[in-house]
Amino acid sequence: MIAGHLVARPIPGLLPVRDSRATLRVLIASLAPGGAERIVVEWVGAELARGRSVELAVLHPRNHTLAAPAGLTLRIRERESPEEFMRTLAAEWRDGAASVSTHLVPDAFLSILWSAGVRTVPTIHNARDGWRNDPREWKPENVPMAIACADSVRVELLAAGCVVPVATVRHRPRVGAAAFDAGLRREIRAELGVGDSTFLVGAVGAIKRQKDYRRAIEVLARLVKRRDAALAILGGALDAEGLAELDRLVARAVALGVAARLRLPGFVPMIEPYLAACDAVVNVSRFEGLSIATQEALAAGLPVVAARVGGQGEISHAALTLLDAHAAAEEFAAHLATHRVRASLVAAPFARAPRIASAALAHRAPTGALIDTLFVTANLNAGGAQRSLANLAAALAGRHRMAIAVCGETTATQFADMLRGAAVEAFRPAPDADPIAAAESILAHAGERGARNVCFWNADPRVKLAVAKFATEGLRLLDVSPGAYAFAEMEEARGFAACIAYSGAYYYARLDALVLKYGAAAHPPCRRVELIPNGVALRPAREAAPGYPRFLVNGRIAPSKRIEAIVDAFRRVSAVHRDAQLHVVGAAEERHVGYAAALRARAAGLAVRFRGAAADLAPVDEPFTAALVLGTHQGSPNAVLEAMAASIPVIANDSGGTRELVVDGHTGWLLAEDAPSGALAAAMLEAISDPAECAERARRARELVRKAHGLDAMARKYLAILDAGSAPRHEKMDAWTSTSAPGAPRPSLRAPSPATAVP
């Protein structure tokens, strides 16, 4: 057990939720079984599962359809003409703030929405040969953004003269447990009349010329010369053209003598059991966007032999064999023949982000009270990053229009109160910390408020990635980074980045400025890099030392602060100075409660006072022999600066930007980064033994803060960056002198050169 005052728990309702995401409105040509339709249904289903309001309009009714997920508002055209249906939609949707997502709907129908002022974000699901739209005709005022299902399609769109921003969203299909069910495998194979030893090849997709099933039949004919095999085409004919293609493929099967080995179950109610039944999948399409069929087969653990067309090359999976688009049937057969009849069914799923397309709908026209900058942070917990943000916001209040989006829960009230006192707006962009919801809301909020800048300040890297991917060019993105820790976090988010067809490299290339808090030796390339150390307010100068050894640890109780080493060091000090005290001011978040309890046990019998979190900086106004600051991945540590500003000598380890503040023997004691407790104890004993030296180092440290780490100096530097590109509105501010380093070329969603464009 641990005392309640030492645990920092989320405070419900501390900040208002201002979720700028609108009802998700989607228009699709039909719900006929197909990859595009499946993407839409999975996407809106995932949003519905999170409580999102969804309206789905279907232009053409069909007999065989995907099931629309429960809970959405579904409108399917009935007796009215398609034009009348579109006009009705336009009238109902014209007042919506967000764009409408459209799928496989021709421009002629979209123009009805446009003429009513409804903006659309079309998703292009196919390679150029399968387009139903002319992207050259899209105007940014009608189409603020378009989505391509694969990079290859995006390149085609740009090459075709599309002038609106295009983002790539690669959908990874969800594959359920039935795909790995051995019982279902037996059942389906029996239903198909396929024996246990027969190698069953699946071909998935509607029967149409694009799929080139005649070629699949030729592959079958070659394959049966090598082994006992059968082919099941899992898909049907939607129209007369499809029936004609069906005739042709069956005639081909007859001509090649493999009709008895062909199975045509058609549109099956669930693909998973059929995937379980198959031993491999072949995809011989003439063109593809990004094949859902290929991906779901791979996710189901099936080997896939496919033609390298369209976005197929963007599917990275060990079980995928890509052959030349014009490879002979024999070559496909040869590769299929290398696989065995499956004895076990093992999943090989993709990581997925089915809701990321929502962020593409975040474009907004300015409507609310305008701001210059929207800061984005993870929380307002009692931490250094949060303190520096609160300090900056309070310093800029009245000089810069801003708001702060706080993505996650907050466990302390002090910074929220501080911001409220400074009349700085802070809010939660979404009800929870989900990065995709937060990103969409942040983009929408920035649009509604006419923000020029979005400035990330200790934000979840996934939020940063999602915002950067869909931010339009007019929105400046800045990242204030504590250094290596943030870069490592971004690296760790590479799985998420891959899910949304993005990367850390794209992110840093997209940034307008990367702000470092200390002169980090290494950082990602960015076209503009600025150095702005933290600033703090000076406390009154103090000469008096405490009457007995008294040490301060001021900050979160967390393993990264190495407080156990401090306790061990204090034990050594206590052995010499029995009247010494150690004051630990701070609380542990719930995930670190165990650590805090262990610390208390470790400190048993010692004069260690765990005081809990302080609501303000009052503890640094108390007399202390020295402040002890150990940490890992430090940026420009506020705990050090605040102690220095209050004339408290500092003993710290050499992490991140600490060495720029604590110069050993001059402004404090700087220990090795991994300093053991013995070294720390030696420094503490030295501080106790020489009060005069202690006072002198404290004086020099305070002077350093006054000269180089003042709040106003920090505020002016940030203001210069935030106001860059706009007319100067702060005449009293000194001109900012850039220390920018050249960085990567600026990426663009509308790049003239598709080959170099960022997806």
Binding site: G45, L66, A67, A251, V268
Partner: protein, 233 residues
């Protein structure tokens, strides 16, 4: 054109006669082959869409059996019928189990090949096999057989098939002219237009529309998806 005219005029009448005959024969052969090809295509459609009826229940065979069975009803004590129509070379072991007329088709060694239930029907007779039912209309001018199954149906005459299966958006007819959507509307099992019907999936696969995503924890750990699938954001 003039050259062709000169050439034809220059031909002897007998040569011209043989040439015409040859062309007619070639055309006839091509036509027969094409017809056979189309017939084979229709048969292939039947085989590929109805694997559960293979290899014993081709509608032509079913019709033969039903017609012959109706001509000579077996006694209640049962009957062993050698070489019955529709099952040439086999034996039909007919037994009554309660009111049901159970027919077991045996090979020459007496091994069971398949079995079904025969029923009288106002149009002729019917065969129940598994979940399906084949009904042969023996009182029409030409043979007719229809098949009903919860998932798929067909109607057959010697000249054409009408299939109603998940292979096509609507019922389609397959004849010597090729496949086309059928005007047949006698069945009522299709869902009404405009309704979101039971999920059918292909061209990308099945799914239940379930939510795939979960919230991230504040700490940033990736939550696993609830199914056997993947990490989901």
């Amino acid at each position: 054109m003039d050259m062709l005219q000169d050439f034809l005029v220059g031909l002897a009448p007998s040569t011209l006669f043989f040439a015409v005959i040859t062309v007619l024969v070639v055309v006839a052969v091509i036509r027969v082959r094409r017809e056979r090809g189309k017939q084979a295509r229709n048969e292939a459609l039947f085989v590929s869409m109805f694997p559960d009826l293979q290899p014993y229940y081709h509608p032509a065979r079913v019709f033969e059996y039903v017609k012959a069975r109706l001509a000579q009803a077996p006694p209640r004590s049962g009957k062993v019928w050698k070489d019955p129509p529709g099952f040439a070379g086999r034996t039909a072991d007919i037994r009554f189990e309660g009111e049901r007329e159970v027919v077991r088709i045996l090979d020459a060694a007496g091994a069971l090949l398949t079995q079904f239930i025969f029923e009288d029907h106002k149009e002729g007779g019917a065969i129940r096999i598994g979940k399906g039912k084949l009904t042969a209309s023996t009182r029409m001018a030409q043979p007719r057989v229809r098949y009903w199954h919860p998932d798929r149906e067909f109607k057959w005459t010697p000249a054409s098939w009408i299939f109603k299966t998940p292979l096509a958006e609507r019922p389609f007819e397959s004849s010597e002219r090729g496949s086309s959507f059928s005007s047949d509307s006698s069945s009522s099992s299709w869902s009404s237009r405009g309704a979101a019907v039971a999920p059918f999936v292909a061209a990308g696969g099945a799914f239940d529309g379930g939510g795939a995503s979960q919230a991230w924890s504040e700490g940033g750990a990736v939550s696993g998806e609830s199914t056997a699938a993947s990490t989901s954001y």
